[in-house]
Symmetry: C2
Subunit: 351 residues, 2 copies
Amino acid sequence: MAQEAAVTAGPRSGARRQFLNDPDDVVAEALEGFARAHSDLVRWNRDPSYVIRADHGAHGSKVGLVSGGGSGHEPLHTGFVGRGMLDAAVPGQVFTSPTALQVAAATQAVDTGAGVVQIVKNYTGDVLNFRIAAEIAQDEGARVQQVLVDDDLATDPQLTGNPDGPGRRGTAAVVAVEKVCGAAAEAGADVVEVAALGRRVASSARSLAVALEAPAHPGRDRPSFDLGEHEVEFGVGIHGERGVGRRPFAPAAELLPQLTAPLVESLGLRRGDAALVIVNGLGSTHPLQLSLAYREVTRLLDGLGITTARSLLGSYVTALDMTGCSVTLVRLDDDLLRLWDAPVRTAALTW
Amino acid sequence: MAQEAAVTAGPRSGARRQFLNDPDDVVAEALEGFARAHSDLVRWNRDPSYVIRADHGAHGSKVGLVSGGGSGHEPLHTGFVGRGMLDAAVPGQVFTSPTALQVAAATQAVDTGAGVVQIVKNYTGDVLNFRIAAEIAQDEGARVQQVLVDDDLATDPQLTGNPDGPGRRGTAAVVAVEKVCGAAAEAGADVVEVAALGRRVASSARSLAVALEAPAHPGRDRPSFDLGEHEVEFGVGIHGERGVGRRPFAPAAELLPQLTAPLVESLGLRRGDAALVIVNGLGSTHPLQLSLAYREVTRLLDGLGITTARSLLGSYVTALDMTGCSVTLVRLDDDLLRLWDAPVRTAALTW
């Protein structure tokens, strides 16, 4: 068995070595490790697979909050399970939606009678499976609301000229949606109010990402795309797919404005407006690089008179070991600011 | 200027693209970004360069805590500046010690009259420059104590057979030393007590690391060493240098015990003992991979009857974008456990 795994996991020419045993087991083994490391916060339900707050149900009735999606984006979503954020996260295989039965089981598990809000990133598989799961849970008597997160400006129909496509993908804005909904649920808002707040955050958020290097799937030996020596991949999502186009490699002071300025325009942000700024590493981007990128983003906003009211700097929504970053802007008002600032205690976010 | 930077920063054949402008400015620009993102916690003194708690001096007199070293290891040390941990961090250029004048300035800045503890990783340049800085500060009337962190078993003289060498390097155990000393200082311990606790943590800690891929310096176009297709670099430090030897690539269930078992032996851990377990990403290691590695480490400890009393799982002490991980074990007693559990609020560690 170990021999077989060694052969499977072993790199070939130019390959990336990874910590794994059998590639088919990477998600389950990682979830087991994650739950071991954070047993004060979460427990892992192995089958059907979901991660749930260790103290779920200990604090009476409140709106349950569930999100999920393919694995490979860690710390999303499992890292956001805990007080003030998600009640459960439902991980699929790498870059693969969780099944409707997984999502339904998690939805029912977190329902204390106050209803459940499902936070869904806009991908065809996730949308489909969460919808079926919601119907299953509703058939069993749960009140279920859904919030669709679709912040990726690179896939905006107005820009792609494809009005019949799936629309904007869901990327790093999901962290803001989960944080705000989590705070509202913790404060006793009802299921309709929590969902309305989540939709408000989603509609106030836009993101763009650039990749400097493609990721490699566990057990596969090559990056998912190749870049020329002087190119970057602009408008990438979080699944290792190509972006909307290749652009010339350039200094950070030129690259980051290419990500940030279109967000400002799309949201119609003006002098005096306040924004939450998320500069997010896509997997292999070093903190030095992210801090430097953050400097460029906020200098541009300073110049436009837009206030960086709050920020999040780190690798929160990743695409395996892709090198690059995404920039997310969320228009803030006093309500959202207060919910963003509310206490949170999860593996990836605590204050 | 931008044109010039583009040429400097541009990758050549097989190179890694990075977010940067002029490579000479990467540390300063990243520090500016870091301080912008965490203005509630820290401020950056540009010249001489150090990062200091934003609320320094606001809470009366307490032992000051300073650490530092070359950059490229972020979030270490700047990410650990804040309540319950460091008062200041002194960053050098990438993989280069800060100057004695930088360290002396930070030491004097955090001295409220209760003395200062310097936490120094065991590298020749750091040891030398912190010693000179301590003498400068002492000449100005400060009481300065030093804690040397030397946890890297790969460079243990007993194993390398070089008793006249610099001894064990300081690596991820420095996080535990900073946490415990920070909690003690916050609780009002005096400068001798804080230093003694730090030394107790350092002497109770051992680490080993393995690299799956070498890092590349900012602005350089090649990894710092090459690995064969079926090799890993065993016993690496955190400066992109080669380790103590090449070993065959193997499944995680074989690689992680190679890191963990020697630590158990070196510390003389036995059935019933309690340990802090740090599984630390070296820069580009995805959370999925780290969680999987953590599973292997703690399964081994479970089998030996050693209790994983506390753990830290994530990328805390990095070597630029090296792929790989380190494992650190710290023998815990009730005092250390209590100090580890005390509240902390920094950019990289909060509970």
